[in-house]
């Protein structure tokens, strides 16, 4: 079999079953946890104690669980929004900005129309958040359709533009006249705050409803089917008589609208005000969630919970072991690297020269 010139190892495409792919993900997570453990060990801390304190910190008490869920809500909602766009292979990394604009739109009604009946006000804020995020996402979608403008970079820029709009509102027209010193926006009236259900704001219900809704939308509706055809091949879609532009615009509006909803949930449920920390990197984390979940809404829930547990748990580990909260970012990074690396084996397999494929 040994031919001269054949490389020692070459890579071939691999087709594996869904079950095997799922198993591979589990291996990846285990490998990632081991790598993270090695890092913790290098810091001179027993990794078992560290992981135990992460789990305890995130899940041990009712309050801890509530805090973990609170972290998970915006992450899950925006991951679902991103899923819509990514399914279409529209690389929307502008969730951060769409969350912010959704938050700004919702805040407008919270500040200036807070006399509406509670139910109406919340509903108006929800719709405003969706319209805000949707419109913000339509901008790159429009230019993508019209001029094929690179959406990755465009949405990235829009994140910062949105962020500084908050700065503008905080320092300018919406500044709370009663706060002395550092400019900020007034806290919302009770009337404009999302109600709590089981101790956590109702955003979690919105998120879970969205999971089911988006799963059905993508899998069982005509529009969902159109999204995946456009994602696979725009030419095929065109040949089949689909209006690609319309689909792209519609899907991006929906994607942004869902992210805008996350912004609304943040201002109305968590912060009760609008500040430049409203998105705080959630839009970027959500991309990672959507990707790791392979754009499956239900898997998004699992991945979101894992990341939220890690984040909440690390903040507790900080006080136990005297480590900075940044350790959560490092661990997240290491875990992501591992999982991204393992993804390789789901798609390819190395073949060695002296016969036999590696398993």
């Amino acid at each position: 079999m040994l031919k001269s010139g054949e490389p020692f190892v070459r890579i071939v495409k691999n087709d594996i079953s869904d079950r095997k792919a799922a198993l591979l993900s589990v291996y990846a997570v285990i490998f990632a946890i081991i790598m993270g453990g090695i890092f913790i060990l290098c810091l001179g801390i027993n990794p078992f104690n560290a992981y135990a304190s992460i789990l305890k910190g995130a899940l041990a008490t009712k309050m801890a669980i509530q805090a973990t869920v609170k972290i998970a809500i915006p992450l899950l909602i925006s991951a679902l929004g991103i899923t819509l766009a990514f399914k279409m292979k529209f690389w929307n990394i502008g969730a951060e900005g769409q969350i912010i604009v959704g938050g700004i739109f919702a805040t407008y009604f919270a500040l200036f129309h807070h006399n509406l009946p509670h139910f109406v006000l919340i509903l108006v804020m929800l719709i405003a958040g969706m319209i805000g995020g949707g419109l913000w996402a339509l901008i790159p979608a429009y230019f993508k359709c019209k001029f094929d403008t690179n959406e990755t970079l465009f949405t990235l820029m829009l994140n910062y533009i949105a962020l500084y709009f908050i700065k503008f509102f905080v320092e300018g027209p919406w500044r709370d006249p009663e706060s002395s010193g550092f400019p900020k926006i007034a806290m919302f009236e009770q009337n404009a705050r999302l109600d709590k259900v089981f101790g956590v704001h109702a955003g979690w219900i919105i998120a879970l409803v969205l999971v089911v809704f988006i799963f059905i939308y993508l899998k069982y509706t005509k529009q969902g089917y159109e999204i995946s055809v456009v994602g696979e091949s725009q030419n095929t879609a065109r040949y089949a008589g689909m209006n690609v532009k319309k689909i792209v615009l519609r899907t991006m509006f929906l994607s942004g609208a869902v992210c805008g909803l996350a912004g609304m949930a943040q201002v109305s449920g968590a912060a009760f005000t609008l500040s430049d920390g409203v998105a705080g990197g959630v839009g970027f984390d959500a991309i990672i969630v959507a990707w790791l979940a392979r754009l499956n809404p239900f898997v998004c829930v699992v991945v979101t919970l894992l990341l939220s547990i890690l984040e909440k748990g690390c903040s507790v580990m900080q006080s136990t072991f005297g480590l900075s909260t940044a350790v959560s970012d490092i661990l997240q990074g290491i875990i992501l690297f591992c999982i991204l690396g393992f993804d390789f084996f789901a798609q390819y397999k190395p073949v060695f020269r002296n016969g036999g494929a590696a398993k």
């Binding site: 890579i11 990394i93 403008t149 465009f154 970027f284 900075s324 940044a326 970012d329």
Partner: protein
């Protein structure tokens, strides 16, 4: 007039870390990889540069450390995207998260172990990185202050950008790597070693980004370590790549413009023109978005993202 010179001087100073980051990212993108980890690599460089500078008081060692750690970050990215063919966008984001955490985590440890809780660079080190005029030239009125009285890193950044410009445009290696970035299949057929070329240029680009981080922690920080010092400048650098239409030499001009917009608010007379501060800081991003649209309308091959960007190359996939 002096006020205007002061303004340009400040713009150059503010634009230098952006110039490093942009040059590094241009090299990376030209070889066909969109690395969104610039922010992370700059953070890693910022920490490593400061840490080594703090302990050795040696500028050269500090810069080498920043370069090496930036290159290391890029190497992780290269391994994942080139060898393991992971999604470039997500890998870049992961690198940003990792790098940010890395700098803030070890920065916090450094703060904990420093006397008075403030790690401070030594006098000799601060003297080495302070702005020094080039003898004779710096005493030319106006021009001397503007061009010949900066700290040494400003000149390094300019030289690096020019060398990279020459490398891309006038050397065989540069031509090879650009062909890999535009059309890897053709480059592969022509017998180029795609894997090596990608690895080399991605790590080189990452190292240059690391230098940009070192500039931020060593110069902008005033000799004291701050967690969170890079603060989005890596992302501006990614934007600047577009503004400079993937040319390191144009990046010289671009980083001056972006640097100018970041300091503009301190130099515009408030009594004459009154614009909220937020719009000043928004300016670089708005300009970049507009540039992005204009280049896409013009559809020029010249000033556009390399075609192979953000797609991983797999030989057997046609």
């Amino acid at each position: 007039m002096m006020r205007f010179i002061d303004f340009l001087y400040a713009a150059i100073k503010a634009g230098t870390p952006l110039l490093f980051g942009t040059t590094g990212e241009i090299i990376t993108e030209k070889t066909g990889n969109l690395n969104l980890g610039v922010e992370g690599m700059m953070y890693m460089g910022a920490f490593a540069g400061f840490f080594v500078g703090y302990h050795t008081s040696n500028l050269a060692l500090a810069l080498i450390a920043a370069f090496v750690i930036g290159a290391f970050g890029a190497l992780i990215y290269a391994f994942l995207t080139v060898t393991l063919r992971a999604n470039q966008t997500v890998t870049g984001l992961a690198l940003t998260i990792f790098g940010t955490g890395f700098a803030n985590f070890f920065g916090q440890l450094m703060i904990k172990h420093a006397p008075n809780g403030t790690p401070k660079l030594s006098e000799t080190f601060m003297d080495a990185v302070s702005a020094k005029g080039i003898p004779l030239l710096s005493s030319i009125p106006y021009v001397g202050k503007l061009l010949f009285s900066h700290n040494v890193l400003v000149y390094i950044a300019i030289i690096v950008a020019i060398i990279c410009g020459i490398y891309l445009k006038y050397t065989r290696a540069g031509l090879n790597m650009r062909s890999v970035g535009e059309n890897p299949a053709a480059a592969d057929a022509a017998g180029l070693n795609i894997t090596f070329i990608k690895y080399f240029n991605i790590t080189l680009g990452g190292g240059i980004c690391g230098l940009g981080g070192a500039y931020i922690s060593l110069i902008n920080g005033g000799g004291v370590w701050n967690n969170g010092c890079v603060n989005g400048q890596g992302w501006i650098a990614v934007a600047l790549v577009i503004f400079a239409s993937w040319s390191p030499v144009k990046a010289l001009f671009g980083s001056l413009v972006f640097g100018a917009t970041t300091v503009l608010q301190y130099y515009v007379p408030k009594d004459i023109i009154e614009i909220p501060n937020a719009f000043y800081v928004m300016l670089p991003f708005v300009i970049t978005a507009i540039v992005l649209v204009i280049t896409s309308i013009k559809q020029t091959k010249e000033g556009a993202q390399p075609l192979g960007c953000s797609n991983n190359y797999f030989r057997e996939e046609r």
